[in-house]
Every structure is written in structure tokens, then in C-alpha cells.
Symmetry: C2
Subunit: 437 residues, 2 copies
């Protein structure tokens, strides 16, 4: 097992998720709901205890809900609220709980408005989405027609002792589910099912460090806090290590803040971001802060670094241009690399990386530039330069550095790791930090 597990949270309340949809179950569509919803819950200190994916036909929904209610306090479902014949969630749950369905005029009006505002005729069958189980709370769908539904059971008939239980049903499309979950469900959850004790969580993000190195360091540094209940989790992906501090109870904030203070004091500028911010966002922000413009020359990463950086809204303020110089001729023609340099030292060499980065700096109006040239594999390695060898050139108008790395991974991981090495070097260069990692 890798990564941090949030022990000690919400010991008294069980939350369970049922994803309906044969397209999810048979793997035709990746189930992104599960991780997304679990992450959002985690931000507020709630923990998911069980997740299942089931077919949206036959007795599967009723059986799954009955099993879930037999052990959990809050059961969430996704999918099956639409207007077609295989949208069974609302009906099956109402039937299991013996709640009659009644048409809600406000939902009918909402659906009619939805169609009218788009200049489309409302098909009669979509009004089935306005059927609401007796006593349920309705969450209007701001980005679609099927509302979310919340059923509160004063006494759960499927669980020993008949404690209260809640069933929250969400529509399947992510663009409908996400805003409803964040803007309608979470506020309800926090108000009506508050955590039994206060909770704190902070995430610090690093790039280029080893997971075990970070783990061993913090284990000693924070021992007194972990002994008192602080939980440390690590999430490592190909050279990126996120550190999460979690605590519950009256001291929660104090423990987590003290852990962060010591970690910042120890790791310092190796921490590039807090929370959800990505390395590429940290880089764009550093460039904006320093008023610097960036250019890239990519060979083995094939445009992936430019793609990552241009995913950040507002990247156009700082990103000038990238050249994906895949063929050797393009290194010569687009970047002004001397053909002799490539012939003599090879396309994957310190000299070529230096010429590439200085070339792209000269050809654009950038203040700082990165060039990468390497052997992504699976073929092309030599004893001197095995598959995974990469040279990273880093330059401004004063100086050029070239770094050599070995990233012997599959093609996709190679691109990811190399891109993050390059972006971390850029971030450090822009902020004037040491380049020796």
C-alpha cells in the first residue's frame, strides 16, 4: 500500500457511494465520479467507507441500496435520473423505500425553462424527471434537467436499531453532478451532518524528491505530533510527492499548522505549492510575479510541456512560444542549432541541448527558456546514452545550464517525469533559487 490513509476521521458515520451505469461497470467509461466525490468529501473531513459500481438494470439498484443501508448512514448514488427507460434509480429507490412518486410542478417549470432558454421544444417524456419521492428534498439542476434528490429516513428499516439514514441521488453527467455536489450537497452535509469534532487538512506539494527520503525526514521531525494523533499521508506519482497533514479534535488546527511550519522550515523552497495548485500553475505564477516571458524547445517530450503550461488559464500572459523540434533538420532550421554540433555530439547531448535553448531564446522575445532532448525509447539507446537519458538546457540572457537525467520509464511516464523536472528547474531559475537539487 502506498499513500496516506486518513485514519481517525468520522469514526461514527459511514458514507457509501453507489455508481450506477453499465457503461461504467464494463469499463467503457472510466468512473471518475468515485475519486472526485471522495476527494471533495475529504476536503471537508468526511471519509468514504465503501464504493460499488452496478448495472442499471434488473434488481441491482434495489439490492445494492438495501445492502448499503444495512451498514451505512449516508448512501450516495450517481446516474439513472434521466428520462430514458434505463434510468431506473429514482423509481427503484422509491419502490424499495415504499415512497410514492409525485410530480413536482417546480421541477416541471425548471425543465420547461431549461428547454425554452435554449429555444428547444420540451419533449413530453422528460417530465418524468419531475417525479419526486414523497418527502424528498429537491436540488434543482443548474446545468441540466434531472434534479438531485435527498431522502431522509427517520428510521432506517434495513439496519439494526433503526437509526436515521440519508440517501442522496445525483445525476450522472459530471458537468451536472460537480456543481450540484459542491453548491447544494456539501452545504447541506456540513450543516445537517457536521463532523463530531473539528478537522484540519493541509497538503504541501514537492517535485523531484524521493518519497522515502521525504517520509524518513518527516517521521523524525514530526514524531511528537504523530504520537498525539497527527496523520501524515504521502501521494507519490513519478517524482511528485504530495504531503498531507490531517488531524481531528480540538487541537486539529494547531497540530496541522505546526506540522506545516516545521516542514516549511525544513524543506523550504522545495515545496512548490499548497493544496490543489499544480507545478505548472506555480511556474506560471512565478513568471507573472517576476514579469518574465517563457519559451520552450522540446524534442523528446513532443509538446507535452507546452500542453501542460497552456492548460493553466492566463498562461498567454507569460508563455511566448514553443518549438517541438522532433526532426534534426528542425533543430537546425527553427532553432539555429549548428548541424555540425548534432553530427559531432549527437541530437541527444549536452552541446545540442545548450544550442537548442540558446536558439529558442534568440528566436523569441522570451526572458527565460527551457530545452529538452532525450531518448524516450523504446528503441534508440546506446551504452553511453541508454533509453531514458535526457539533457535539459536552461537559459536566460546571462547564462546557460545543462542538466543530465536518467528517466528509464515507458513513453508516457518518461514525458511526465521529464516535463516535471524541466518545469521545476524553470520555477527555481525564475525565483532565483538554487538549481542543485
Amino acid at each position: 500500500m502506498r499513500g496516506g490513509v486518513f485514519r481517525g476521521m468520522m469514526p461514527t458515520m459511514r458514507i457509501e457511494l453507489i455508481n450506477t451505469g453499465s457503461e461504467l461497470l464494463i469499463g467503457q467509461t472510466q468512473n471518475t465520479h468515485h475519486s472526485w466525490m471522495a476527494q471533495q468529501l475529504g476536503q471537508y473531513g468526511y471519509r468514504l467507507d465503501h464504493q460499488s459500481t452496478i448495472h442499471d438494470a434488473g434488481p441491482a439498484i434495489r439490492e445494492a441500496l438495501e445492502t448499503a443501508l444495512s451498514r451505512s448512514d449516508l448512501v450516495m448514488t450517481t446516474g439513472g435520473l434521466g428520462p430514458t427507460s434505463d434510468d431506473r434509480t429514482r423509481d427503484d429507490i422509491a419502490e424499495l423505500l415504499q415512497k410514492p412518486l409525485r410530480s413536482s410542478q417546480s421541477v416541471v417549470d425548471h425543465i420547461r425553462d431549461y428547454f425554452e432558454s435554449r429555444g428547444r421544444q420540451m419533449p413530453e417524456r422528460v417530465t418524468v424527471q419531475a417525479m419526486v419521492p414523497e418527502g424528498a428534498t429537491v436540488w434543482m439542476n443548474a446545468f441540466g434537467t434531472a434534479p438531485g434528490l435527498l431522502i431522509a429516513l427517520g428510521a432506517n428499516p434495513f439496519r439494526e436499531g433503526h437509526p436515521p439514514a440519508w440517501i442522496a441521488m445525483f445525476p450522472g453527467p459530471p458537468r451536472e453532478l460537480h456543481p450540484m455536489f459542491l453548491n447544494q450537497f456539501i452545504p447541506w452535509l456540513v450543516e445537517h451532518l457536521p463532523l463530531p469534532e473539528s478537522f484540519a487538512c493541509r497538503i504541501l506539494r514537492t517535485s523531484g524528491l524521493g518519497e522515502s527520503w521525504v517520509e524518513e525526514r518527516l517521521q523524525i521531525l514530526l514524531k511528537d505530533l504523530t504520537d498525539q494523533g497527527l496523520d501524515i499521508g504521502y501521494c507519490a506519482r513519478s517524482g511528485e510527492v504530495d504531503i498531507r497533514f490531517v488531524a481531528s479534535g480540538s487541537q486539529a488546527n494547531a497540530f496541522v499548522d505546526e506540522a506545516c511550519r516545521r516542514t516549511y522550515a525544513d524543506l523550504g523552497d522545495l515545496i512548490h505549492s499548497e493544496g490543489k495548485r499544480s507545478l505548472e500553475s506555480a511556474l506560471v505564477e512565478a513568471l507573472r510575479q517576476k514579469g518574465m516571458r517563457l519559451a520552450l524547445a522540446e524534442s523528446c517530450t513532443g509538446g507535452f510541456i507546452a500542453h501542460q503550461i497552456t492548460n493553466v488559464p492566463g498562461a498567454s500572459d507569460v508563455f511566448q512560444a514553443g518549438v517541438v523540434s522532433y526532426a534534426n533538420q528542425s533543430k537546425v532550421h527553427l532553432l539555429g542549432v549548428d548541424a555540425e554540433t548534432i553530427n559531432q555530439h549527437g541530437a541527444v547531448s549536452e552541446k545540442t541541448a545548450k544550442a537548442m535553448v540558446e536558439g529558442v531564446l534568440a528566436e523569441t522575445e522570451a526572458d527565460v527558456a527551457l530545452a529538452v532532448t532525450g531518448i524516450a525509447g523504446p528503441s534508440g539507446g546506446t551504452p553511453d546514452k541508454p533509453v531514458g537519458t535526457v539533457f535539459l538546457g536552461l537559459a536566460d540572457h546571462h547564462e546557460t545550464h545543462v542538466f543530465r537525467r536518467l528517466n528509464p520509464y515507458d513513453r508516457e511516464t518518461f514525458k511526465f517525469v521529464t516535463a516535471h523536472q524541466g518545469m521545476e528547474l524553470l520555477r527555481r531559475k525564475v525565483l532565483g533559487l538554487s538549481l542543485e537539487l
Copy 2:
């Protein structure tokens, strides 16, 4: 519900998947095992009937396995076979089934060899991975130390009538699980639990067509086949529509082949690939077949098209270079676009797209080129050119075409849709097909 559901397959055998690991359950790690394993099973005609994710602590594994065995014939688990204290799957399952664990010398030898071949000392605790439940079959782990385990139960104690049942345990890391699943588990499955009747499945892939347009067309064209049991599934993602034909029984191959024959006759060159081949692979193959070299000039897609194409092994044979001309100056300096053209018509215009594509063709040794310039948003739209407007320039050394599209999506979807429109235009150009879609 969207997409095709493989009805009519394996009605008599239930297969269930249990993913263990708190890091999956709380959303820290995306559960990619589920969709990957379900897809592999589907290729061979097997269908997943239930999936769940559980914590790897406490009674969760025993409870989940007991529930799964009470309704399923084959239960697969992932994770929890490693050497640490939270790797509980093997022990918990052996305990539930009352199978004693015995150390397997061949597994100990395998683990020792694994460490020796990497020049590392074998820590004593890793030999716990050699503990094998009595009577279990061992699948050696070619890319790690924890073996896969298969337990065959002659009589399932948790299910009415006590039919036989099988439990297959896989290690959690994908690089270990994938080869074991494909090379060791699937051959066993096909031999020992064959489908009750023959099965056929073929997938045809298109780009740029509407899902409902395809669906309505094939509904009429293939009605006699669907009436006889052919199942048609659609998988649509932002402009890509995959069509899957599935049939079972003695006529399975005949039905699926006839459906493909008619669909090819009707849609013709709109089908870019069969099976798993991607549009970017189809494009690279078309370029190689015609001996043509490609260059790209990307503005709004920010390097994503180059990234997609360079993900295809062997792309270096046909891909010359890409320019990510994000800033206007870079369009002028790197692509030779006349600054007057940008001033007069705007960076997002037919004229600029034309100048960009002709510029990149002139600056590289390519035979064919694509340029894209557009407004990814969220800001930057005007009444004439709303957010999502994109111009795609396509050129060889004889002629240039510019196409205008409107892709009003979020930033990531915008990049995906625009990239696929561009790659499909390139594929059609290279193969000499009509450019009017």
C-alpha cells in the same frame, strides 16, 4: 445512460471485482484497474457484473469476499499482496476460507532472484509474499515480487446449492497486474471457464460525426441483424464515436462481420480505425504509407496535437516539427506571418490560419502541415468570434484550405475536440479523401 451495453453475454456466469486499498477508496489514487480489467474481459466476451472498492483494514476484505461469493462464480481482487502490515488480502481470504498458508519455495526463489538480479539485498520480511493458501495456483510476478493467487473452490460455502467458485488475487501496481492479467489469467480463464457459446466483437472508430446521426443511420441499416440478436453499442466522447458490434451464439461471427461489411459500405472512409487504434495512430500510419512528413503550427491547442502525435511509437519517422506560436510575435518571428495580417484580421482569423500553415510548411521540410488558431476561453470572445471559435489551416505545397469550427467547451475539451478535428482533416488530406465532412 449513454453507450453500448453488452447484453446477452455470459448469462450464466457472474464475475465480480473487489479493489482493495484506502488510497483508491478515498480518491487519492484514481481506480484505473476497474475499467482496464473490465475492458480486457470484454474483449474475450466476459462481462463484469459488480465492482466494489473497500478499505484494506479491519473486517472489510472478509465481509466483501463473503458477499461476493454469495452471488458470484468468479471473484477477482486487486491489491494487498505486498509485504507491509496493511497488505491483508491473502491472509484475510485464507482465513475466511479456512485454508492454511504455507511458504512456497519456488516463490521464495523467485523473490530472491528478483532482488539479486537488481543487485539488492532481499529484506527478510518480503518472504511473507511466498505464503500460499493450501491448494492455490501461483502466478509468478514477472515485474515484481508478490505472486498472483488462484483459489478454486469445488463447493462455494457461501452460496445456495454450493456450486464451484474461483477467487483470483492480483497485485495492485498496474505494471505488475497488467502483464499477469493478460499473460497468465486470461489464458487460464479462456481454457477453464469458456464462454457457453461463441462470441464475436468488433469496434469501428469514427471522428467528427454526431452520435445520434450514426445511431439513427445504423438502426435502419442493421435492423434485421439486431432483431436476430446483434448488439450495437456506441461510445461517444467529444466528437469521437466508436461503434461496437457484439453477438453470441453459432452465428456470432457471421452477424458481426455482416454488420461491419454494411457499415463500411455505408460510412466508408469516415471509419478511421478498427479496434484499439487511435486517430493519431491512424494519422501516423497514413503519413508513413504515403511517405509524407508533417509539421504543425499550434496556437490555441498549445502543443496538445504534437503531444498526441508524439505519443505514437515511431512518430519520429513522419513528424518533422511543431511550433506552439502562443504570442503574436512568435507567429511573426517563427512562422513568418505578416504582422499586418494579424493587425488587420486578428490572430484568430482565416487569413492568419492560412499564413501560419504556409509559414510552418516553408520553415520545415514537411510535405503537409496543419495550423490551428482559436479562442479557448474562458475570456477573449467577441460577438463575431465567440469563445470556442477556431480556424484550422491545412496545406501541402500545392494548395491551402482553411476551415472554421465552433467548439464552445471548457479549456480541456476544447483542446481535445480541436485536436481531433485537425488530425481527421490531416488524415483525409494525406489519404486524398474529401475534406467536406
